[in-house]
Symmetry: C2
Subunit: 595 residues, 2 copies
């Protein structure tokens, strides 16, 4: 079947004299997750992982993916004739290097310009310039052969009321126009979905776990064009948008609209815009390439959002406590697998008032599975939980009152010294980072050492960022705030920490083949005292879920660590216990006792 699809693609390529066709994993909006409509790479190669790029020539078919997927991809590509390229391994060329090698002089490289990032496109242009390679980017060839292709998601749009959003869309649009003015631009092209729905105070359900709406926006000083499938708008939303001054136009008309911006100075962010959009501009356009002004604006939660997020986290904490209490009481008494636990927790969240689903797929990982940071339990991997060792659960919900993200590592019975040590270190790291006081002007980069020190001083580390920004009833991963020790400019998550920014705080330790621990709370940045040295800042916890005392080795903690833990636990009990059954509350009291 895969071979037939590749053959069909090759015959389309031959007709068009395309020498190589590239199929990345992306939607038109640089979204983190993509809907079924966008799974062209999976359709052509059979590989179902969340990351990968296929490149097809008349003689070769290759698939690049990263270390998370080497085993799975090898299995899924078997017999397909598609060659697996293990990205990052020594001697394995990157997609760019491969194209530079195989593209013939004066050849043509094909791809759907809407699913290729504009910066990647420009990099390829430079790389293939010497060979005079032309790009054929206006056609989605896979669409021509994918007969039963799923439709584009078309979930209804709804309005997020101001008691949730805290600020009117009109005010947000006015701020955006101020930012456009500052950059001396007259038009702004915005294609990132979370920015668009945040700006308009609307939500939808077009990307899994992200309540966004497939759309593009083109904003001038007087007009606001929203390119969207009109069928998803009911009359209430239509009149809301009309009142806002928003003109609705068909989803795909953005490309035409951009090509008509002749002579205008356009504000847009090339790192977040697809190649087709940029290619529809021409030399008469000056592009001011800046981070979308909505990104930092959205990251600073307003007081209404923060108060709401506190409420969302109480609900979420209640679900988590009920889950942990259930798990602790039933482990060893009934069969519980990773998937059982996941479903039990997901259901508890769904039962919370105002819950709108998960903010990401729950990671429910027992024992050695928890050592894989990106683990997702499947029927094949689904481990049965035993009354010993550590279980890690990383999960979150979408609520009218905001987005949550919490990780707890839970002792299911007897634990090893290494397990307790690593668990305790992740707790110490999490608590100390959350307790920092710092001068305004700090970035996550300046603070990350606090979370690393307990590990680095012992020759340990974890190979992921310590924290990411979190949206409000939006994407669980949001820039531009973050906490990491390496400078990775392309991640754009190293901004100065502003009052109102919500960040995760999630140090861990992962021992391959043995166990994994992570402790994650969300923290909100706020002002502390101001004096002659400047404005001091600090964090406040949003997450209130107990930390498992049964896995704790108190001997590793200093006096302050113990104080931080006890004070946190006392707040957990105070905030969560009113919403529990008497039995659960009693359990919580015992498990948030001062140590």
């Amino acid at each position: 079947m895969i071979q037939e699809r590749i053959a069909a693609l090759r015959s389309l390529m031959a007709e068009r004299q395309i020498d190589a066709y590239m199929i990345p994993t992306s939607d038109f909006h640089e979204s983190e997750y993509v809907g079924d409509y966008f799974k062209c790479r999976k359709f052509i190669t059979g590989f179902t992982g969340s990351a990968g790029t296929a490149i097809i020539t008349q003689t070769e078919a290759r698939l690049w993916t990263d270390g998370r997927y080497f085993v799975q991809a090898a299995k899924q590509l078997e017999g397909s004739g598609v060659l697996l390229m293990k990205s990052g391994q020594e001697g394995v060329p990157t997609e760019e290097e491969y194209l530079a090698e195989v593209m013939p002089q004066n050849g043509t490289l094909g791809f759907d310009g809407r699913v290729v990032n504009s910066q990647l496109g420009e990099k390829l242009e430079e790389l293939l310039e010497d060979k005079h390679v032309k790009f054929s980017w206006k056609e989605d060839l896979v669409d021509l052969i994918w007969e039963d292709r799923p439709a584009l998601s078309a979930e209804p749009v709804w309005i997020l009321k101001e008691n949730y959003a805290g600020k009117s869309a009109a005010d947000k649009i006015a701020d955006l126009r101020e930012a456009m003015k500052k950059e001396k631009t007259t038009v702004h092209v915005l294609t990132t979905l979370d920015d668009i729905v945040w700006l308009l105070n609307i939500r939808g359900n077009d990307v899994v776990c992200n309540p966004v709406v497939l759309s593009y926006a083109l904003v001038t000083m007087e007009r606001f064009y929203l390119f969207i499938n009109e069928a998803v708008l009911d009359s209430e939303v239509k009149s809301y948008l009309k009142e806002l001054g928003v003109t609705v136009r068909p989803y795909n008309d953005i490309y035409d609209a951009v090509s008509q911006l002749k002579g205008q100075k356009v504000l847009l962010e090339t790192a977040k815009t697809n190649y087709a959009i940029i290619s529809n501009l021409d030399e008469s356009n000056a592009v001011v390439d800046r981070m979308n002004p909505t990104a930092p604006a959205k990251a600073v939660k307003n007081p209404v959002e923060i108060e709401n997020m506190k409420k969302a986290h109480i609900k979420d904490g209640v679900a988590m406590v009920k889950f942990i209490c259930w798990l602790k009481k039933n482990i060893g008494k009934q069969t519980i697998t990773e998937l059982d636990a996941e479903h039990y927790l997901d259901n508890l969240r769904a039962e919370q008032e105002g819950n709108l689903g998960l903010s990401f797929h729950t990671i429910s990982a027992y024992g050695a599975n928890a050592a894989m940071c990106h683990y997702s339990a499947t029927p094949e991997s689904n481990a049965a939980l035993e009354p010993k060792g550590l279980y890690l659960v990383d999960s979150g919900g979408q609520y009218y009152e905001g987005t949550t993200d919490v990780t707890r590592t839970i002792s299911l019975g007897e634990t090893t010294e290494a397990e307790r040590e690593h668990f305790t270190l992740s707790v110490i790291s999490m608590l100390r980072l959350a307790a920092v006081k710092f001068l305004y002007g700090c970035r996550g980069l300046t603070l990350d050492y606090v979370a690393r020190e307990p590990l680095w001083s012992r020759g340990l580390n974890f190979d992921h960022g310590t924290g990411h920004g979190v949206g409000y009833l939006l994407n669980v991963h949001e820039r531009p705030n973050g906490i990491r020790w390496r400078m990775v400019p392309e991640r754009q998550d190293n901004c100065v920490l502003e009052e109102g920014m919500v960040t995760s705080d999630e140090p861990g330790v992962y021992i391959e083949g043995s166990h994994g621990v992570r402790t994650e709370n969300l923290i909100v940045c706020k002002k502390a005292e101001k004096n002659e040295y400047g404005q001091f800042m600090e964090f406040e916890f949003l997450t209130f879920v107990p930390i498992d005392l049964e896995a704790l080795d108190k001997s590793l903690m200093n006096e302050r660590d113990v104080e931080l833990l006890n004070s946190y636990h006392s707040a957990v009990y105070e905030k969560i216990s009113p919403y529990l059954t008497a039995e659960e509350a009693e359990w919580l009291k015992e498990n948030t006792r001062a140590v």
Copy 2:
């Protein structure tokens, strides 16, 4: 006198139809300190501070300087007709803003292009483009009216032997050519003096406290041109340079040489190159604007340099211990002023074998004077040391075996609780930062929090970087390594910390009108263990000078702080005591005792 000079300048300006003439404080090489020849701004305005820019028009004369000099400048400008512009104060335009305001349409701005940074020049070009302002940059008008102008420094050049330098100049030049090749350039223009002398393993004495040589270098793949006053080269140096393949040409011929590079791709660093050099290139030249490859190469001290620096620091430590011991024993018994103490210490350093002078002007500051970070005792400010309170001394030497920089704060008798608290915090900060273990890839930015935390957690701070790179028998301030919490890209001191880099570690606390404390050691970065998480790194002390136990409040220290201090002091005694008199050694033993 000043008024006459300005009048003379104005008449030259009028002859040349120059509307405004700008005189910054700089030599031709972007050096940190400038020699007497380069003090044009002082000549024209009478202001003697180390930083300032004068701009003269036919109707106005203005001088910009920063907060360190407001009082002094006001006094020195009195009656001169020169208006003081307090840089950074609200409502005070910058030099650029002023020029944008006063320059007439189609006017001419004059300056000596050799003393204006090329980036500033380009910024002014952009800013004044709309007014079609022309630049007259080829003439040093001050030179035409400065009759008794001091000559350019012309100190003899000498060769730094390989047992000191650790690497031959031939090898360094070969490395440089490799770097040029990587950037696909055929020629490199190098004008920063410390880079030139480091590259050639020569030293001189043309900038105060910096053993550099006034010169420019132009390097091709085959040739090395050194533009220098030939009179400073004796026959030994001449034949050394000849053997190295270095062609000597007159100092000012660099400008002609650059203008003859037609069509070539030039590697140079615009941020460190003057406007005249860049302006002698033309459109046929492509400029690859990168940090001079010598800067990071020079910052990584080789094993020979590190072993030598350890020796230099023993000598320097001996001088410091003798000084502190003398001060402690004589305070209250004889009159000792800040200048007395400074001279006593400077003499002790000069007596050390292989000492070649100071690495910067000694800061000898008592009481409230120490609260001014850039204090320099003058006959007017010279305070008498009393047997109470704190005395701060920040000083360093140049030795064949390297450059030193050390600050100690010394109790002269009774101290207040605040003084002891602040002193102890600076000690804790210094010790903790020096004791970090971190993964390779960290920058100073990632580590600075360790030094700030003891202060920030108490609502305190110090308003300077925690650490700067230090040269080897070169400039005491050297990029690209440094330790600070703010990202300040233009400082270029935030590189990844490499094994062999030497950085200062100098937290402090400054209470205006009362006291100032700072504790500074130099630390060298080295490899710790390597494991599955990567290469761990750590620091090692170079500086061995006791920390004053009499000013210490042990109750502020945790157990580890005390351990770090005791272990440091035990090393101080072991390394320094063999070079002391019996009486001094006894004093040191007592004052490095475990607490």
